[in-house]
């Protein structure tokens, strides 16, 4: 059992445990904080796979930007454990059974694969910023530019949706 296997097991335990805690915890703020821990564990996996650019982007974009946006919205709505929506225990049981069956099925299917491939850890230079940047700005420059248009439209859409409804002015000339 070498060092990368131990690191993999620790990070996996952290990711799965934090993900479970995210579902279980009643307070939405705690859920967001547990999900940030999951993202840190996944970033650790990226570092283990030598995908350093993705590890840094995952922390900056997901844990830094998106989760802060979630926290802002949760705190803006003043949600806490008291405002937890009403429960339906039968639906919960059905949901857990469905998820467990799906997991069992997927694990059985993937166990039937006869690939015995190994994954390269702590090696390879494909994930370094230099190589990824060369590919991104040469081969994939058109999708990169299109994604900027996507961001612009998302920004305009968010502003339009989140705008306060103004009362319709009956007399626009006044």
């Amino acid at each position: 059992m070498n060092i990368s296997t131990i690191v993999f097991l620790l990070l996996s335990l952290m990711a799965v445990g934090s993900a479970l805690m995210m579902i279980i915890s009643k307070n939405p703020v705690h859920s967001v904080l547990w999900l940030i821990l999951v993202f840190f564990a996944i970033s650790g996996h990226y570092i283990l796979l030598n995908a350093q650019f993705l590890a840094v982007v995952n922390i900056i974009v997901y844990a830094g930007a998106i989760m802060v946006l979630f926290l802002f919205v949760v705190m803006l709505m003043n949600l806490n454990a008291d405002t937890e929506p009403i429960k339906n225990y039968r639906m919960q049981l059905v949901g857990i059974c469905t998820g467990g069956t799906l997991l069992l099925l997927l694990v059985l299917i993937t166990n039937r694969m006869d690939v015995e491939q190994l994954v390269e850890t702590n090696a390879g230079n494909a994930g370094l910023i230099k190589n990824l940047g060369m590919v991104l700005f040469k081969q994939y420059v058109l999708p990169f530019e299109i994604s900027s248009v996507l961001f612009l439209s998302a920004m305009i859409g968010a502003v339009v949706i989140g705008r306060k409804e103004e009362p319709i002015d009956q007399n626009p000339n006044s």
């Binding site: 990368s4 296997t5 993999f8 996996s12 990711a15 993900a19 479970l20 995210m22 579902i23 939405p28 859920s31 999900l35 999951v38 996944i42 996996h45 990226y46 796979l49 995908a51 993705l54 982007v57 995952n58 974009v61 997901y62 998106i66 946006l69 979630f70 949760v74 709505m77 937890e84 929506p85 009403i86 339906n88 639906m91 949901g95 857990i96 469905t98 998820g99 997991l103 993937t110 015995e116 491939q117 190994l118 994954v119 850890t121 390879g124 494909a126 994930g127 190589n131 990824l132 590919v135 991104l136 994939y140 994604s147 996507l150 998302a154 859409g157 968010a158 502003v159 949706i161 989140g162």
Partner: protein, 110 residues
């Protein structure tokens, strides 16, 4: 590392996300679970790209083994745009019905 370990980890994370979507009634938690599912898929894509990097076919040809990581980068881009619009919708919904419980949102009218 064996690729099956990464597949198993991604499957467990993805299923936790699905169970969260099915069990929880809070719209924000459901949105968080969707993000968790996206990240499970991202992790599996990166693991497969590193598996491809070890294969003899990738070493013989000039194919770049990091295409999957560009894919993951674009998935993150789309997820960021999706989160901004989705949160705006949730805020709008909360302003109209004063709850984020999806049980109260089972009708499209009113």
């Amino acid at each position: 590392m064996d690729i099956k370990a990464y597949i198993a980890l991604s499957l467990v994370l993805f299923t936790i996300g699905i169970v969260g979507v099915l069990v929880r009634r809070n719209a924000i938690i459901i949105f968080l679970c969707v993000e968790l599912m996206l990240n499970a898929v991202n992790l599996l894509l990166v693991a497969f790209s590193k598996m491809h990097a070890l294969s003899p076919a990738a070493k013989a040809s000039a194919n770049f083994a990091g295409d999957a990581q560009i894919f993951v980068f674009f998935i993150m881009v789309v997820a960021a745009a999706e989160v901004s619009v989705g949160l705006a919708i949730i805020v709008m919904m909360f302003r109209n019905v004063h709850t984020v419980d999806i049980n109260f949102l089972n009708r499209l009218k009113n």
